[in-house]
Amino acid sequence: MSKTRKNPDRRGFLKGAAAGAAALAAAPAAVKAQNQQAPRGTAPIPSANAVAAETSTPPPHVEALTADRPGADFMVDVLKSLGFEYIAANPGSSFRGLHESIVNYGGNQAPELLTCCHEEQSVAMADGYAKIEGKPMAVMAHSTVGLQHAAMAIYNAYAARMPVFIILGNTIDATARRPGVEWLHSAQDAASMVRDYSKWDDLPVSLQHFAESAVRAYRVALTPPMGPVLLVADSDLQEGPVEKDAKLRIPKLTLSSPPAGDAAAVREVARMLVAAENPVLLADRCVRTADGLKLLVELAELVQAPVVGGKFPSRHPLSQAGGRALIANADLIAGLEVPDLWGAVNSMRDQLHRTVSRVAKADAKIVAISAGDLDLRANYQYFERYPEVDVAVAADAEATLPYLIEECRKLITADRKRAFEDRGKKLAAAHAQAMERARAEAAFGWDSTPISTARLAAEIWDQIKDKDWSLVNGNAPRLWNVDKHYQINGGGGAAGVGYGAPASVGAALANRKYGRLSVSIQNDGDLMYAPGALWTAAHHRIPLLSVMHNNRAYHQEVMHIQRMANRHQRGITNAGIGTTLADPFIDYAALARSMGVHGEGPVTDPRDLRAAIRRALEVVEKGEPALVDVVTQPR
């Protein structure tokens, strides 16, 4: 990297400034002056030559005021070569060069710049987008303060193993920074702040370096276990001209095949699975793609094993909600990309003395297939408690499924097949009973005010069930018919609040080109972290139906304070202090309308819900976002 800005108009900034330290630092004469003992409290006086050299306007043939091809144009070429559809950003001067090149040189197409109101929003949008699209959205973030805003969302993406491609502006050459804010917004090692929870980062010092690291970063982000990556884009590199004789080349991108399980280990898992009398498949984050969903169904049907959690057709007879009883009765528990396997087979009571009890049988065999161990950091404790397992396969579960299915097929005898069929019948009956119970439970509080969450879910479902829908935030209610991999997007990987609203907008953007109806059941506390996401949805015409689960509180925190108050026997009437969103109540429909989003509500009577959702859906189906504020029961 050059030590001075290639665009020499830095001189212009110095002109007119006090002929003090800034000028002295650059001139040899000033260096000599600094070595002399100056009287305390006074600045050494620069020589006349030094002042003239730094502050006078160079002759017109010397000062370059324009650049035909800035480095940022080449950076745009690189981004285009990687196929980014969008780049999300809240504007920041440390990437102004790249910003300008995207909208002018790049024609603001592929990538198209998405205007965001907060860097946390930018990254969460990219996270939600990746969950639908299976590839990263680019994000630009301002150095220091911008990355600090983005940090929580990066942690969410890292814990969820979602690929996000972040370009971080920074001004590395200290002598090229404008005085004041540019210093505050520069860092020596800008990406270090999030290095504990990002997969890879680099600080390219040349355009060729940028190209190679960008292609590497893209591949790293998409290799399971996936994760966010960062490239620091030096402002000098962005703004300076591409040198005439530069031989720049964008390397070819070749994505890595995902790591599949070792043959012997997979064979052993297959043997255990076929031999087990009561196996359980914990599917958590196993399915990444449509093919992955087919494979998981194929495996489950092949051995007639119940599937708990994760993406699996909700009305399939082998889909078993809850799963605690199955785990307690299991002789084999197979965790497929389960981040907290210990928590799945044990339970801990949150009382004054925390006690642990094992849910699984003492002699139950446990298998873990997960790529998690392939990228493990020490500081942040996202990896959960160490699970004792009998077979650990460090591999991507979805990529391992074809081999596991093949090995199981080899081992299944006629006897085992009959046993599987008997087990399948019992599981199908259990599934049917569970669905009946869920229907019966939903009837309780059906006409309550505030509105029950079961009623809310049923009212939404009735109006989307015949459409190509995608729940872009949270997990689908029990009675919804989930049978596609994009229909459940889940929550923030690290449970960081403020994820739901922006991630929904990012996912809805990914769904837009497929003509899918994106639906979000939006928590009130979450929306208040980054409500600007609504404006982004309106501005970019992103169709999204947000239905508020507005319990007017950070409800989980209410319960935590209640727990403490009960434990200390102090009465619980003050548990709402600091945990509720009341006095005044927030008018989310008005908030939405203020940002150009269609707003309905607050709906407090369940009989009004159907019409409000219908009106909002009409707006969404025209390609715009809409929000229905529903005042609900706490859970």
Partner: protein
């Protein structure tokens, strides 16, 4: 005298609940935050469904005082026996929901 003792015995054994004020119980259910886990109509949520047809009073009282699960304990200092009886009376007053077959949205 014998009937008084018998009544006390049955109450302690779970055979009968002390008389309670359902209206006050409803207020307490909200004010003391029971609804946060169990819903305003005790139909369940983060916590178990409590109504209609609540468990026997003795079991109810015992669990509230010394829960064996995740529920935080509500000692006499926090909820008196009289208030607990009122809450129980409220739970008993909650009617059964409409049958599932009468709710079209739950049959689609």
């Amino acid at each position: 005298m014998l009937s008084i003792l018998l009544t006390l015995f049955l109450a302690q054994a779970g055979g009968a609940a002390p008389a309670g004020d359902a209206a006050n119980g409803k207020k307490i259910f909200t004010r003391y935050g029971c609804y946060q886990c169990h819903g305003y109509d005790a139909h369940g949520g983060a916590g178990a469904r409590l109504a209609p047809n609540p468990i026997a009073f003795a079991r109810f009282q015992s669990y509230v005082r010394r829960p064996t699960g995740e529920m935080p304990p509500y000692t006499e200092k926090v909820v008196t026996d009289k208030e607990l009886a009122d809450i129980y009376a409220f739970l008993k007053s909650i009617p059964a929901p409409p049958p599932v077959k009468n709710i079209p949205l739950l049959n689609r």
